[in-house]
Amino acid sequence: MKLSILVNEGPYQHQAADSAMQFTKAALEKGHEIFRVFFYNDGVNVGTRFGVPPQDDRNITEQWTALAKAHDLDLVVCIAAAQRRGILDENEAKRQGKDGNNIADGFRISGLGQLIEAGIQSERMVIFGD
């Protein structure tokens, strides 16, 4: 079945991004297709490459990057939510006149239309938040 995932909270503060990761892995193992993982609200903060969690804990962003590489996942960070919270890719940094960017490998920044498209295209939308 074709599934999409929505993540509404940032990494570590809430379990949402962890639960979404475990769910996505299990869905892939069962042979389902993940059409898209959309990061909204504070969920956009999952997409920073600047995080350095303690060595004995998981690195949520790197887990998503690795999963995306292994399964060619489409990880989309909402542009409007990302602007509010300071998640930038090279393009956005240029457009906003910022002197750097922090988007992690495997994530792309795009519009809310991508969430609606996921809703239309997927047979199920599963939401993880606070």
């Binding site: 389902h32 939308m125 939401i127």
Partner: protein, 102 residues
């Protein structure tokens, strides 16, 4: 098949479970995840409410979240079904749609 309602909030602190139960039609499923799993345990002040809901609903609880919180299947109210993440995925596909009571 009806809807699957996911609840991820502690029933002692938030009203998400109450809201979910108030809006779940007969036959709808309830899946307890994250801090929502605290509703699944027997011997608490919310156990009676959950047992009563079993009349109209299948209620599931996510095992990995149960174990993380120091509990096991033995603590879970009789009649609830413990599932793993694979089971969570199966429920999502078996029910018609999913509604998250954030």
């Amino acid at each position: 098949m009806a809807m699957l309602h996911t609840v991820n909030k502690s029933p002692f602190e938030r009203r998400a479970l109450d809201s979910a139960l108030r809006h779940a039609v007969k036959g709808a499923g309830i899946l307890l995840i994250e801090d929502g799993v605290y509703a699944a345990f027997d011997g608490t002040v919310v156990s009676a409410k959950v047992k009563a809901a079993l009349t109209d609903h299948k209620i599931y609880v996510l095992g990995p979240d149960v174990n993380a919180r120091g509990m096991t299947e033995k603590n879970v109210i009789d009649g609830l079904e413990v599932v793993d993440y694979g089971g969570f995925v199966d429920l999502v596909t078996e029910y018609d749609k999913v509604q998250a009571w954030l």
